[in-house]
Amino acid sequence: MVASMIRFLARRFVYYVVLVFLATSLTYFLASATFSPRSVYAQRNPAPSAQVIDAKLDDIGVNDKTPVVIRYGHWLDGVVHGDLGQTIQDRSVNDQFFPRLGVSLRLLVVGSIAGIVLGVLVGVWNAIRQYKISDRVSAAISIVLFSTPVFLTAVILKISATKLNQDAGSQLINFTGEATPGLDGSAWTLLVDRGAHLLLPTISIALGLIAIYSRYQRATMLDVLGSDFLRTARAKGLTRGRATFKHGLRTALIPMTTLFAYGFLGILTGATLTEQIFAWNGLGSWFIDAVNGNDVNVVTAYTLFAAVVVLISGFLADVATAALDPRVRRA
């Protein structure tokens, strides 16, 4: 049984890797076709000579006079050896990638876990208390949150925090950047500072997720609550709570795993936007700056990151499905 499960997961893994490779390559070609790195240098004042620009662009590997297939070959060779290339300013992408990765992951992981866990809990609570006041209020709140794009949630939170700080006359909530620049102190002070900066961006991401997941968790939970096996579980003497959580929630979570996997793409996009709005030095805001700065290698590096994150979440969803649903393991 374990062997067949590993075979199932291995097959999926190979499929995901092929998808990531194709997605990243496609981005490389798209960015190469539409960006003009030459203009970045040609617009400098004083303008460098054509040879200097060519030499520089060759160095970075984005010279439009070299056929794109050859440039792609160089880039791919570097990536296989763990080198993501140079930014348009001729600095190593790797050097900036990993610090920014830490910043982005902090937001992504905390935001998505908060969103998923709270969403599932609210959904279960609403299902158990179907048509009670709490259920109706949740439904109303979630349709409003659901209809508000992430960027607007973030902007409104930012405005509210500014108002709050103005009214209080002091900086109650810090929301610019991922940490206070130049702050010195113990590890604890730094940790508290980062946690405080994490607050609003995390809420921006989590609110939408809670709204969506709670509605679907409620629907799947309601289907399970009326099922025969739950009645059997009660009949054999389990308490209502135990039956609901051990037999009910587990079953109701199976279809949700697909939703988590799909949803992660949305979470990632949301985090990209949130980073930009709250001026975090993460990968997302780096990407947006890179698009405006004609930086092919940075844009591709970010897509690679995005595709890998989506891959991991898809893979985790498969593992979760296999763990929750014995029928998949037997297939």
Partner: protein, 336 residues
């Protein structure tokens, strides 16, 4: 997420009759659906709100004495008044006209994207499900690949470089990334419709596959397509405003709700009318579209028992399709 197993389909989403619907009966069904839609309080309010917003977007500019780009040098940053119904911005432009114009652009883009992406999804999904084999594999491969690529990133990469081509390009780009999940659902529904007697009968009568798809398969998934299309409008509008907010969508001097929110967010505390009319119009529109989508789901679902406990008796596997549909909304929520 890239599972290619046959997904169990909620049978309630597929039309119940074993005979293809006749045009005459469809008229009745249309009336019946409309009646059921208005009986749903949320959806009824949604329809009224949408009609009002359309009137605001398309008739508003005709009623307003100001053009959206016109500058009133006598009124900078004025609150709402009799001359400027929604006030003016920092350079003296009329906020009412600007919001109406932005709403108009967002609505046009949203509607076009919904129509095109639903059409693409219907055809590719039905073809993949009906033909199976390599057609299926190719379509599903594209679906999976486009799902791995965050659409926001790709549109952001392409869009600023072709902004001269105008907002139509934006429609094409958002459409290109908006059809995949719908196609997956249509495919799994087709797999089930394909096995029904009337489709087999048609096949044995020698009717060609494309004719069968258009005459027999698609009409039987029409309910889902209508519901999905409605929600797609909201998704597309949220996607467009997000892109425009970050400067990757509608470009100045043209305005969309996204560019208006971006321009005015810093003035939200000092002159709230600049921010809240545009933001409010966006959210109210999305809420109304989602309410109509929910209402349509109930109205078109022949087994629908809104507000009754019978729903609990459905088999658990059938949730998969519902969750697939839900995934569409997930993207709506994230705005890209």
């Amino acid at each position: 997420m890239t599972d290619t197993r046959i997904e169990p389909v909620d049978p309630s989403l597929i039309a119940k009759s074993d005979t293809p619907a006749r045009p005459k009966r469809q008229g009745n069904r249309f009336l019946q659906t409309t009646r059921r839609l208005f009986m749903n309080r949320g959806a009824g309010i949604g329809v009224i709100v949408i009609v009002l917003l359309f009137a605001f977007a398309f008739l508003g500019p005709l009623v307003s004495p100001w053009q959206y780009s016109q500058i009133d040098y006598t009124a900078f940053t004025r609150p709402p008044s009799a001359t400027h119904w929604f006030g003016t911005n920092g350079i003296g432009q009329d906020v009412f006209s600007q919001t109406a114009r932005g709403m108009q652009k967002s609505l046009l883009i949203g509607l076009l994207v919904a129509v095109f992406s639903t059409a693409i999804a219907a055809i590719t999904g039905a073809a993949a499900g009906y033909f199976g084999g390599w057609v299926d594999r190719i379509v599903m491969f594209f679906v999976d690949m486009l799902l791995v690529l965050p659409s926001f990133l790709i549109i952001a990469i392409i869009s600023p470089r072709i902004q001269n081509a105008g907002w139509i390009v934006l429609v094409v780009l958002i459409t290109l990334f908006g059809w995949m999940i719908t196609a997956r659902v249509v495919r799994s529904m087709t797999l089930s419709v394909k096995e029904r007697e009337f489709v087999r009968a048609a096949r044995y009568m020698g009717i060609g596959p494309f004719r069968i798809i258009f005459r027999h398969v698609l009409p039987n998934v029409a309910s889902f397509l209508i519901i999905d299309g409605t929600i797609q409008v909201a998704t597309a509008v949220l996607g467009e405003t997000t892109l425009s907010y970050f400067g990757f969508g509608v470009q100045s001097p043209d305005v969309s709700l996204g560019t208006l929110i971006a321009q005015n967010q810093d003035n939200a505390l000092t002159s709230p009318w600049l921010f809240y009319f545009a933001a409010g119009a966006l959210v109210v529109f999305a809420i109304a579209a989602n309410l109509i989508g929910d209402g349509l789901r109930d109205a078109l679902d022949p087994t629908s028992t809104t507000g009754k406990r019978e729903k609990r008796n459905r088999r658990r596997d059938q949730n998969q399709a519902a969750v697939d549909v839900a995934a569409l909304n997930t993207q709506a929520g994230s705005g890209a």
